[in-house]
């Protein structure tokens, strides 16, 4: 499964949920699939996606937005592995982490990450996250269907191929207006 295929599957399942995406190529490709108000692109906040989604899950608990979705990469997760431990510790049952694990830092010349030898799904299991393992779009769609209905916190370990979609535009956006777009979308729906 290519990353863009995984993102296409995620977008189809999360049109009415807040989605936090890790920086660089993942956010750019997500925006190329659908640049919608429920997406928050962390343009340069390395390793922060799981933490941000965990915070959102905390404050959205009990609201009409019943999930906070995180799209993370293996390299980014490894930059802040403690975030997974804290997610497991806090255990928000409305948190869905989708790890797109291609084993490389695809945004920085495809240099291998430690995920080439480590099982990040096993690490997630060890900190109390409910892990689903997938390697194709059908499996990912089924895993999302489960994670969006059953209590979590979930960690969908999705294996993807290395590489980026050539020619994907840069996200040349103002983070203030982008964050405000997301905030308005979240607060209007959470209050509904």
């Amino acid at each position: 499964m290519k990353r863009i295929e995984a993102l296409t599957t995620i977008v189809a399942r999360t049109t009415e949920l807040p989605v936090v995406a890790t920086c660089a190529a993942t956010s750019r490709e997500l925006a190329s699939v659908a640049d919608t108000d429920n997406h928050l692109y962390l343009l340069d906040a390395m390793g922060l996606a799981v933490s941000v989604a965990t915070g959102l899950a905390q404050v959205l608990a009990g609201s009409s937005l019943d999930r906070a979705v995180c799209v993370e990469g293996d390299g980014s997760l490894l930059m802040n592995l403690g975030a997974a431990a804290t997610a497991g510790y806090l255990a928000p049952d409305n948190l869905v982490i989708v790890l797109l694990d291609n084993g490389v830092y695809a945004s920085t010349a495809g240099i291998p990450t430690q995920a080439a030898r480590l099982d990040l799904g096993a690490i997630a299991e060890s900190v109390g996250l409910a892990v689903l393992r997938v390697d194709d779009q059908v499996g990912l769609d089924a895993a999302l269907a489960t994670a969006l209905q059953q209590p979590g916190p979930w960690f969908i370990h999705a294996r993807t191929e290395p590489g980026n979609v050539a020619g994907t535009p840069l996200l040349l956006i103002d983070p203030v207006s982008h964050g405000d777009r997301f905030r308005r979308w979240v607060t209007e729906r959470a209050a509904a």
Partner: protein
């Protein structure tokens, strides 16, 4: 122990707890320090589902979690010590500062008067300049401020963060020659 028998440090800890609670935070993340154990324990004692008080393994995590609260219209607080700002600068600048996300950080200072560790000043001493260089406001409290001022400064710093849409830091130095147990 009655109020009048409490040490100056204990009174300051209680005052900071009261000030943080006055801000009605949606959650409080902490990274531990012996110097502010009284603050952390005081907050943990009153934690609720609506106001969780929880540990994180590293300061940047706290910035990510608590920094996300304003994206849902909420506000949060981080309690830490100042040597952790080195861990959190990238998260503070690329997330909280860049996206205009208010949050309050109350941090005890290390490396100054009363310090017993021989190298921590290397990160702690330049923290105010590092933060200000990153456009993060810093307000300071120490033995020369009375309790009323400690309370007012923490509360107003929290309001300032929300008014100006950015992270705001209160640095607290607990050294006091009148309190034998006061620690950096």
């Amino acid at each position: 122990m009655t109020t009048t028998e409490k040490t100056l440090t204990q009174q300051r800890h209680e005052t900071v707890v009261e000030a943080i609670l006055a801000l009605d935070p949606a959650g409080i993340a902490y990274v531990p320090s012996a110097s502010i154990a009284g603050i952390i324990n005081g907050l943990v004692d009153v934690a609720t589902d609506a106001m969780p008080v929880f540990p994180v393994s590293r300061e940047e995590e706290a910035v990510g979690i608590v920094g996300a609260y304003p994206l849902a219209g909420k506000f949060g607080v981080i309690v830490m010590q100042d040597n952790g700002f080195g861990n959190s600068l990238t998260a503070l600048t690329t997330f909280a500062v860049s996206y205009h996300l208010p949050l309050l950080i109350v941090a005890n200072t290390r490396g100054g008067l009363g310090e017993y560790n021989s190298m921590i000043h290397s990160i702690s001493a330049p923290v105010p300049e590092l933060l200000r260089a990153a456009s993060i406001p810093v307000f300071s409290l120490d033995r020369r401020n009375d309790l009323e001022d400690w309370h007012a400064t923490v509360v107003e710093a929290g309001k300032h963060a929300q008014m100006t849409f950015r992270p705001v830091v209160v640095l607290m130095e607990f050294f006091d020659h009148r309190d034998a147990k006061a620690r950096a």
